[in-house]
Assembly symmetry: C2
Homo-oligomer: 460 residues x 2
């Protein structure tokens, strides 16, 4: 087989796999018709309610449902109600909520940067969000004001074919776990994904570019960027030269997308498009992993703080880092760790070293530094719990009792609160927590079996 | 009590303690008479034998016995036979050995830089050493040629009182364990001690200076030094401007002398002059220490290489450092260690961590470095013994089986020979060695009980 035939073979594979994926990802005509009908009906309702209050208001559909870039099964409709910038903020909020309730009679109010109404109509999740209608995205007063600019920019660029490739890319990113700019995932936002597909010209072109990315990657579609960013992926917002659209996207998700891009180009398969959650890890599987690994698991479990995920996960990660530092500082080497949350929250740490001797080195000052040296020596010389002080090199050394000889001892003590913890995690721990070790860990399988399988059977 | 009275009280304590120490340290008249008689008789014998062969030869008594600086019980007499520098080296060696045998009929030949005769006469240990008689110490051809210059320099400076203080200082240094320039002790040589007493003007003056030493200390009695040295204590040889007399003296012995100097000045006691070896540590005491410390002892025991101590101990120390590095590199943290030798030799290590998990992190290249990254991923992706590769930050990580999960496993393997070992120690280990762990360690008590007490009950 010649190289040309070989390449053509790969291309055929690629196209056939992509075609199969599109079958599952693209909404069919009926689904699109249903969504369009609901969206149009609600837009009309919102327009009536808005112009009644403010004749100069208008209403636009935004987001993936407005641009044809939503994936089959997604059921989000975003309706933005734009008021003139002369309106004061308080009136905008009042009108916004009134219009929202008129549009989604069963809706409830939510609070992001400012309040909006969220609800369900005919099985679709509806957001009705008030914002200011501005001349330029650089004048925005809150993040939602930016959305209409994003919408207009993309609508001008996305033809049918690119919109289809956006859907395909989203499906791929979801499947490999890098989709979502929430602070739990720290991956690729919808807007970022659409920009990348536009910028590179399609799904395949994006994968081919990503396969050879040399982070930091810097894209500036409008060539108007003025700031520099330390992020591994920088995409200057076409509607705002001072903003990196990919600011939330963590290095591991950039690397992960790169990995799966290479893998898919080399051997196209449909499974990256399969985002099914894994089966929960069973207790006996967990035991098998721990026995095979020879590590010592420890977990702090407590009632999950009542926070939205975008607040909770950063706090959990900060707390995990703090607990890890606290353990490592005391000689309990950490092998790996993670954090989960549902009803309860867990800081999970796998230890390489779970016990330490009863003594620790305490290195004193050089003997020549007389005042300090004598102070150190006198402090320990008559302490029968201490070995030494003796001299090593030019210094006194004492071997004194170690505060904690087990990781569990440290985690169960008040010294836990000396480490850096997220504020609400700290409060939750102060209320109550359990330290799970060894076989107790299996108690986590019921609530966190899926997370445990991801942890113990890690994929790129 | 006024300050003056207080000081006078301390001084009285000091003087009375020193007087008691002198009682034990100073040889009495009978001892000195015996030594003098033997030394004079042997010197005459040596002179007769030397001038018979070379009329221009002469004989001198050197060393502490010649200068009245020996301690009661020392039984060394050093006789140097000086030949004119015109003599060729081979003839000097022949004559030297002949004179030696004539002087000490039961003597045997030993080999330092060149051969000499050593033997016992009337209970004294006699060295008869040939050397060249030179104009200046800078012309020396071997280290022994320097000795007559040292002898002359000190004899010109040591009066009765200083000689007595040299004896006192030696007794003190022996008692606190810093006396001896052999490479096991790495402490203060006799010549260095005599120079220090001369330079500071006495025992008390030396202690007072040492109590406030700020290493590096630089003394140059003849003010002729031209080199700079990195040692903590530098005493330029009055007979050789390029030589640091204290080059062998290690930082810990300088610090140790400083420590005991302060302690003695503050509360003079006779026990520093007491050099009695400690009682051997018993097996049950050893077990008690290990239980109290919670450490894991391991020891490599093997036949001691047939080397003089000045060659053996540096090799043992190098080997201990190599084994320590090998353990630490593999995650077996070392708490403390030491080395002993007698019939057998031992590298003794007390571990803080004796076991590790069955897996280890293997950090791969950044995913963006495509060729390396793909090579790493492909090497592990299908290995069922490996967890991952997965992505952390921007890199692949694999969790692969660890080569050694116990320190004992490493010490019993061929990988032991990858670490830096002294050449003769390596040969001895290649022949045979035993790994002792846990309670097996008590087997060391019989041969190394004293060393084990020094290790487990360390003094400054």
């Amino acid at each position: 087989m010649s190289v040309d035939e070989d390449e053509r073979g790969d291309r055929d594979d690629f196209e056939s796999v992509v075609a199969a994926a599109r079958e599952r990802i693209d909404p069919d005509e009926a689904e699109r018709e249903r969504l369009r009908a609901v969206a149009d009906r609600l837009t009309e309702r919102a327009e009536a309610a808005a112009t009644e209050r403010c004749p100069d208001a208008d209403v636009i559909q935004v987001g993936s449902s407005a641009r044809g870039t939503w994936i089959s099964g997604d059921r989000d409709i975003d309706i933005f109600v734009r008021f003139p910038p002369e309106l004061d903020r308080e009136t905008l909020e009042t009108y916004g909520l009134e219009v929202g309730h008129a549009t989604v009679p069963d809706g409830h109010e939510e609070y992001a940067e400012h309040p909006y109404v969220k609800g369900t109509v005919d099985g679709f999740d509806i957001d009705v969000v008030p914002c200011f209608r501005l001349e330029s995205a650089t004048e925005i007063r809150s993040a939602v004001d930016r959305t209409p600019f994003h919408n207009r920019y993309l609508q001008n660029r996305l033809d049918e074919e690119l919109a289809a490739d956006v859907r395909l890319t989203k499906g791929f990113m979801k499947g490999v776990g890098v989709y979502g700019s929430d602070l739990r995932t720290r991956g690729f936002s919808g807007y970022l994904t659409e920009l990348l597909v536009c910028e590179y010209g399609g799904f395949r072109e994006l994968l081919e570019a990503a396969a050879d990315w040399q982070p930091p990657i810097e894209l500036d579609p409008e060539d108007h960027g003025r700031e520099s960013f330390a992020d591994p992926l920088v995409v200057i917002d076409p509607t705002d030269p001072e903003r990196n659209v990919a600011a939330v996207c963590a290095a591991d998700n950039v690397a992960r997308f790169q990995h799966y891009a290479r893998e898919f180009l080399e051997a196209p398969r449909t499974d990256p498009f399969d985002a099914d959650a894994p089966d929960p890890l069973t207790e006996s599987e967990l035991r098998d992993h721990l026995e095979r690994r020879g590590t010592t698991p420890v977990a702090l479990r407590f009632d999950a703080p009542d926070l939205v995920p975008d607040q909770l996960y950063p706090q959990l990660r900060k707390s995990l880092a703090g607990v890890t530092d606290g353990l490592v500082d005391r000689g309990f080497d950490v092998f790996r760790g993670t954090t989960f949350a549902d009803e309860t929250a867990v800081l999970f740490v796998e230890l390489a070293v779970a016990e330490r001797p009863a003594v620790e080195h305490h290195r004193g000052p050089p003997v020549q530094v007389r005042t300090h040296a004598e102070g150190f020596y006198d402090a320990y010389a008559d302490d029968t719990d201490v070995y030494g002080p003796f001299i090593t090199e030019d210094r006194y050394v004492a071997e004194r009792p170690r505060e904690f000889t087990t990781a569990r001892g440290f985690l169960g003590s008040d010294r836990l609160f000396d480490v850096g913890l997220g504020a609400h995690v700290e409060t939750a721990l102060e209320t109550d927590y359990t330290v799970l070790t060894d076989d107790d860990i299996t108690a986590l399988c019921e609530e966190f079996g899926r997370e445990l399988r991801r942890y113990f059977e890690p994929k790129p």
